[in-house]
Assembly symmetry: C2
Homo-oligomer: 231 residues x 2
Amino acid sequence: MSITTVGLDADDTLWHNETIFRLTHDRFVALLADHGDRDTIEARLAGTEQRNLRLYGYGVKGFTLSMIETAMELTGGEAPPSVVREILAAGREMLAHPVETLPGVDEALAALSERYRLVLVTKGDLLDQERKLAASGLGDLFAAIEIVSEKERGTYDRVFTRHGTGPDEAVMAGNSMKSDVLPALAAGAFAVHIPYAITWAHELADAPENHPRFGALDSIADLPAWIDERA
Amino acid sequence: MSITTVGLDADDTLWHNETIFRLTHDRFVALLADHGDRDTIEARLAGTEQRNLRLYGYGVKGFTLSMIETAMELTGGEAPPSVVREILAAGREMLAHPVETLPGVDEALAALSERYRLVLVTKGDLLDQERKLAASGLGDLFAAIEIVSEKERGTYDRVFTRHGTGPDEAVMAGNSMKSDVLPALAAGAFAVHIPYAITWAHELADAPENHPRFGALDSIADLPAWIDERA
């Protein structure tokens, strides 16, 4: 068996992301505290995000628009200007937030890049993902960057065929069972789940049972050894 | 000389886009008519967009956020909720707008795709551009889609190397002198300017003088013949 290519998710696999969304959620809940308790506000925001995914896709800009829309809903269409301004500011801060790579990432990617072709496969806003990659200092380790609107079986088939030797000889690693692991396995690739402390509800899914190409690791630090054993 | 690959811009080259932005501008000016005349409002919006390009990039979502921000500026931070709701609705309508291909596009692309590898090269929101391509019915004619955050010399070098036989054997066609023509020529490709009725101020630039690889056409209908003569 041969492995030539390693696909890596970005947000919450290489650097913190959901933590920053969480902080913004907290700020949003505080802003609208007069109009509902935390659970109510969170549920409305999640509903708006889910409904808007088809139009807005993933990323901070769509999230910001969904926050404003939810604020309008929770206030009967009368969200005060100060709330809207705060939400705009929160979105801008998310987009300008410093990028902090997760523990072990720098070393693991340096090791992997010596032996395999690395491909970044991520959803989100194009410009924002490019910014984060540049700020992370990891950009030079990747042979290719694929910013995609959905992560489905066909996505991995296409990405690993274009940038590697096909999914059969590729590994995908990431924190989302739903987006990184299951569709990559379906495409015929290896897939490794590396959980992050928080997972967005939209990305939850069960682990595959007894799949010969599936792995679960506690840390990205263990990824090079896992792949080397199978290559 | 040989030409193997043709790059095509999307918005205002294959389908109407600026027209839809214009309609939204008109609506925005009407909404804020109590706070300034058309020129003032347009100038503030253009200033906000320009300032936010670095954070938001190109596309409808960033434009919507910039409209809300401008409304706040023009009202001393007190834009009424109804104005914000109208702007959100306008943004959503832009994202859901039907795609109308420009005259001659379908025939020109069908002819070109028989002889050359077609690559779509466009800025804007990832999901929105994918939606418009799908809705246009033109998707199957393209060998590759590149949605990029900026169109610079290096962009064309990379795209035509990855999807073709290098910029030397490629043509880029689009409505923006600044984004489609000048950087493609700088990369060593041929480039054809096909103007649209309206050009966003940000995309204006002078035509190159006496450049052997530059062409200017009134309609995309003339593009296959222009390329065939040089291939």
